[in-house]
C-alpha cells in the first residue's frame, strides 16, 4: 500500500511547485471555534449500502442524528444526490455559488478540478488535522488530496480496479483460473479463447472470454494499456506520451481481442456500462467470463448479483509487473466565509471519518479504508475477494493530475472508441489524440 500512487505523488508535487510559482502563497485563514457556531450545515451524499428498509442513506442519517444531539444549535441537512448526478450537480452548484458545505468528492475525479482549488472553492483542512491525525492516513491517500503542499479534504476510502472472473463459466469451459491471480497476457488470451464458446450448439457464440467499455471518465480498460509500461503524459505533464510504441501495442492488443481473436463481443469498447456488468453478473445472462471492474463490483457480486467469482490481477506484459489504476474518495469542505462555521464543518467531517467509521464502511461498502488504523482492524477477514483486491494496492498507479485532465481524458477516450470499433488502428488513433492533447497542454 505504501508504494501506492507513487507516480501521482510525483505529478502532484510537480504541479504544486508550478502552481506555487504561478499563484504565490495563499492567505492564511482564521481557524475559528466550532463551539461558537450555531446554525445549519449542509452535506451532500450519494446512496451507500442499504439497511433492512432499503434505505441507502441510513449510515449518514444516524451519524447526523448523533452529532446533532451532541452539539446543540447545530442542524445538519443531508441532501441525497444520485452518484451519477453528483458531478453535474456539484458543477452547477459551484457555478451558481450555491454549493453545500460538505461534499463527497474524489479530488482527482470529474466533480472537482484543481482549478477549483486554485480559485478557493475548496477549503484547506490543514488547520483541522494535526500531524498525528494525518499520520493515521495512508501517505498516498493524503497525497491524492494534497495540492500545493496543503490538504484539501479528508480521504475516507481507496478504490482500485481488478479482474473479476466468473468461476462458473471457467468451470463450464474447463479453464483453470490463474494461480494466485497472477498471469501473463498470453495466458490471459489463451484463457479468453477457451472461454469463448457456443453453449447451445447453434453455431453462434454464446459466451465470450472478455469484455469492457471505453468512456471518458472510466478506466477499467486502462491497466491493460499500461502492461508494457508507459503513461498518458510525461512526468512534468508537458508532453503526451500515450503514443509510445509500448502503449500503442497494448491498446491494439486489447482491441484485437474483438477485432482479430474474436474472444470479445461486438460491444467491447462501447459505452454501455450497465449492460457490460449485466453480461458478467446477471444470472439470466452470464455471457462474458472476465471483466475488469472497480471494487464496488465485488460488493455487488457478493450481494445484489450473487456470483461465484474470483479476483485476479490484470495480466502482465513486457514490464512483468501487474498494474492497476486506483482512486481515493473522501469529504471536501466547500468555501466558507464564517471561520466558526468552517471549524464546525471540519469537526463534523472528522466525526464521520474516524477509524471506526471507515472500518464500518469498508465492511459494507466495498472500499478500502484510507486510515491505517481502520485497515489494521482487518475489515475483510471474512471476505477473501476483498482481501485479494486489497493486496493489489501495491500495483496502483494514479492518473495524471493535470488541471485539464478531463479534456485530455476525453481526447484520448474518444480516439480509443474508434480503435475498439475498428475504425482506426491504435497507432492512428493515438497520433490523432496527440494532436488534440498537444493543443490542450500547450
Amino acid at each position: 500500500m505504501k508504494k501506492m500512487f507513487k507516480k501521482s505523488a510525483i505529478a502532484a508535487a510537480s504541479l504544486g511547485l508550478a502552481a506555487s510559482i504561478l499563484a504565490g502563497c495563499g492567505d492564511k485563514k482564521e481557524a475559528g471555534n466550532a463551539d461558537e457556531f450555531k446554525g445549519k450545515i449542509t452535506i451532500w451524499d450519494g446512496p451507500r449500502w442499504p439497511d433492512e428498509e432499503e434505505n441507502k442513506f441510513h449510515w449518514l442519517e444516524a451519524k447526523i442524528k448523533e452529532y446533532e444531539e451532541a452539539h446543540e444549535g447545530i442542524e445538519i441537512e443531508l441532501v441525497q444526490v444520485p452518484w451519477a448526478e453528483m458531478g453535474d450537480k456539484l458543477g452547477v452548484a459551484i457555478a451558481g455559488k450555491g454549493w453545500p458545505d460538505i461534499a463527497p468528492v474524489d479530488i482527482s475525479g470529474s466533480a472537482i478540478s484543481i482549478d477549483h482549488i486554485e480559485q478557493g472553492v475548496i477549503e484547506s483542512m490543514d488547520d483541522y488535522l494535526d500531524k498525528k491525525e494525518k499520520e493515521d492516513f495512508y501517505e498516498n491517500a493524503l497525497d491524492a488530496y494534497t495540492y500545493d503542499g496543503k490538504l484539501y479534504g479528508i480521504p475516507n476510502s481507496i478504490t482500485l480496479h481488478s479482474m473479476l472472473l466468473n468461476l462458473d463459466l471457467f468451470e463450464e469451459a474447463g479453464v483453470e483460473p490463474p494461480k494466485d491471480g497472477n498471469w501473463t497476457y498470453d495466458e490471459f488470451l489463451q484463457a479468453a479463447e477457451k472461454l469463448t464458446f457456443d453453449r447451445d450448439g447453434d453455431g453462434k457464440i454464446d459466451v465470450y472470454g472478455f469484455s469492457t467499455y471505453i468512456m471518458p471518465g472510466y478506466y477499467e480498460a486502462w491497466p491493460f494499456f499500461y502492461k508494457n509500461g508507459g503513461s498518458p503524459l510525461n512526468e512534468d505533464m508537458t508532453e503526451f506520451t500515450f503514443d509510445s510504441p509500448e502503449i500503442v501495442q497494448s491498446i491494439q492488443d486489447l482491441a484485437d481481442l474483438k477485432l482479430k481473436h474474436k474472444v470479445a463481443p461486438e460491444t467491447l469498447g462501447g459505452n454501455d456500462v450497465g449492460g457490460t456488468f449485466q453480461a458478467w453478473a446477471n444470472e439470466e445472462q452470464r455471457t462474458v467470463a472476465m471483466e475488469p471492474w472497480a471494487t464496488w463490483a465485488i460488493g455487488a457480486a457478493q450481494g445484489a448479483y450473487p456470483t461465484n467469482f474470483a479476483v485476479a490481477n490484470y495480466p502482465t506484459g513486457d514490464s512483468k509487473d501487474p498494474v492497476t489504476i486506483g482512486g481515493v474518495g473522501g469529504w471536501v469542505m466547500m468555501h466558507q466565509d464564517d471561520a466558526n462555521k468552517r471549524a464546525a464543518v471540519a469537526d463534523f467531517m472528522k466525526f464521520i471519518s474516524t477509524a471506526d467509521e471507515q472500518y464500518h464502511m469498508a465492511q459494507h461498502y466495498g472500499i478500502f479504508p484510507a486510515r491505517v488504523s481502520a485497515a489494521e482492524m482487518d475489515p475483510f477477514k471474512d471476505n477473501p475477494e476483498m482481501t485479494r483486491a486489497m493486496e493489489m494496492s501495491d500495483q496502483v498507479v494514479m492518473l495524471p493530475r493535470h488541471p485539464e485532465w478531463r479534456k485530455i481524458d476525453e481526447a484520448i477516450q474518444n480516439e480509443l472508441q474508434l480503435v475498439f470499433n475498428g475504425e482506426k488502428t491504435a497507432e492512428q488513433a493515438m497520433a490523432d489524440a496527440k494532436k488534440a492533447v498537444d493543443k490542450i497542454i500547450k
Binding site: 457555478a95 469498447g269 478531463r406 479534456k407 470499433n421
Partner: protein, 314 residues
C-alpha cells in the same frame, strides 16, 4: 400612368408608419389604459425575466469573460475566436445541421400527412389518433431514449432481431461512426410530431368548406384540393412548426447524453451537448457562453431565412 405628387406618402406606407409611431407616442397612456392586461401578464413576465431573460443576458456577458468563481476577467472576443478555431465546434455544427436538415422536413411533412388522414375520420377515431400521436410529446425524452437504446441493443435489440429474420447479421447501431448519428436521426423521425399533428388538425378545421365545395364544382379531385387549398392555407401553421422544430432540432441533447455521449469518437457530438460539456465538465462557462451565443445566432439566421421563405403574404 398617374404620377404621385412630390412629398406624398403612399397610402400603404403611411399606414405602416402610423402603426409604428402611434404606440411609441402614447405608450404610457396605453399601458395605463390596459393596466389590467399588464397585471395578468406580470407573473409570466417575472418568470420569463428570471429564468430566460437574465440567464440569456448573463450568458452573453460571460461569453466575453474568462470565468472564475470569484472574480471573472474580461477577455474580449477570445472565447469567440476559440469557438471558431475549435475542431470540436465544427464537427458538432456539422452533426447538428445534418440532424436538423433531415428531421425537420420529415417531422413536419409526416405531421401534415398524418393530420390529413386523421381529419377524414369520425370524431371518436380522430380523438383516439390525436391522443395516440400526442402521447410521445408528454413522455419524457429520457424514457423514450432508454427504450430506443434497448431497440438498438446489439445483442437483444428489436432492430437486430428483425434483421435476423432476413438473414442479415446484427448491426452495432450506436457503436459505429457510420451508423450512430443516423440511428439517432431515424429515432427522431419515427417519434410522431404530436404538436404538429394537433396544430395542423386545428388549422384544417378552420378552413372554410365552401372552398372545397367550389373546387369540387370546378372538377378538382382530392389531391388537387389538398395541393391548391389545404397546403396554401396551412402555410402559417407550417411556418410556425418549421420554426419550432428547427429550434428544437438545433437544441438536441437528451438523446445524445442518454444514448451515445457524443460518441463513438465525435460521431454524434452536437452543439448543445458540446456546450454542456464545456460548461459543466470543463467548467469553462465563458467559452460555453460564447458557444451558446453562436448557436443563438445560427438559429436566428435560420429562423429569418425560414420566415422569409415561408411567410404568409397577404
Amino acid at each position: 400612368m398617374t404620377q404621385m405628387p412630390m412629398g406624398a406618402v403612399p397610402k400603404k406606407k403611411e399606414e405602416k408608419m402610423k402603426l409604428f409611431r402611434k404606440p411609441n407616442k402614447n405608450l404610457f397612456r396605453q399601458m395605463k389604459k390596459n393596466y389590467s392586461a399588464y397585471l395578468f401578464l406580470l407573473p409570466k413576465l417575472i418568470l420569463f425575466t428570471l429564468f430566460v431573460a437574465i440567464p440569456v443576458v448573463w450568458a452573453f456577458i460571460l461569453s466575453f469573460q474568462k470565468y472564475k468563481v470569484f472574480g471573472s476577467e474580461f477577455i474580449g472576443l477570445e472565447n469567440y475566436i476559440e469557438v471558431f478555431q475549435s475542431e470540436a465546434f465544427w464537427i458538432a455544427l456539422k452533426n447538428t445541421l445534418l440532424f436538423t436538415v433531415v428531421t425537420v422536413p420529415f417531422g413536419v411533412i409526416s405531421a401534415l400527412v398524418l393530420s390529413v388522414l386523421i381529419f377524414e375520420l369520425g370524431k371518436l377515431s380522430q380523438s383516439i389518433f390525436r391522443s395516440a400521436f400526442y402521447l410521445p410529446t408528454v413522455t419524457s425524452m429520457v424514457i423514450i431514449a432508454m427504450v430506443w437504446r434497448w431497440m438498438y441493443n446489439y445483442d437483444f435489440g428489436l432492430f437486430n432481431y428483425v434483421l435476423g429474420w432476413f438473414g442479415v447479421g446484427p448491426v452495432n447501431w450506436l457503436g459505429q461512426s457510420s451508423t450512430a448519428l443516423w440511428a439517432l436521426i431515424i429515432m427522431q423521425c419515427l417519434i410522431p410530431f404530436g404538436v404538429g399533428i394537433i396544430m395542423y388538425l386545428a388549422s384544417m378545421g378552420s378552413i372554410s368548406q365552401s372552398l372545397y365545395e367550389a373546387a369540387r364544382m370546378d372538377g378538382a379531385g382530392k389531391f388537387k384540393q389538398w395541393i391548391h387549398i389545404t397546403i396554401p392555407l396551412l402555410k402559417p401553421t407550417t411556418l410556425y412548426l418549421v420554426l419550432l422544430s428547427t429550434i428544437g432540432s438545433f437544441q438536441v441533447f437528451t438523446q445524445i447524453i442518454m444514448m451515445t455521449g457524443g460518441g463513438p469518437g465525435s460521431a454524434t457530438e452536437t452543439l448543445v451537448h458540446l456546450i454542456y460539456k464545456t460548461g459543466f465538465r470543463d467548467f469553462d462557462f465563458g467559452l460555453a457562453g460564447a458557444q451558446s451565443v453562436v448557436l443563438f445566432a445560427i438559429i436566428l439566421i435560420f429562423s429569418i431565412i425560414q420566415f422569409r421563405v415561408l411567410r404568409h403574404d397577404e
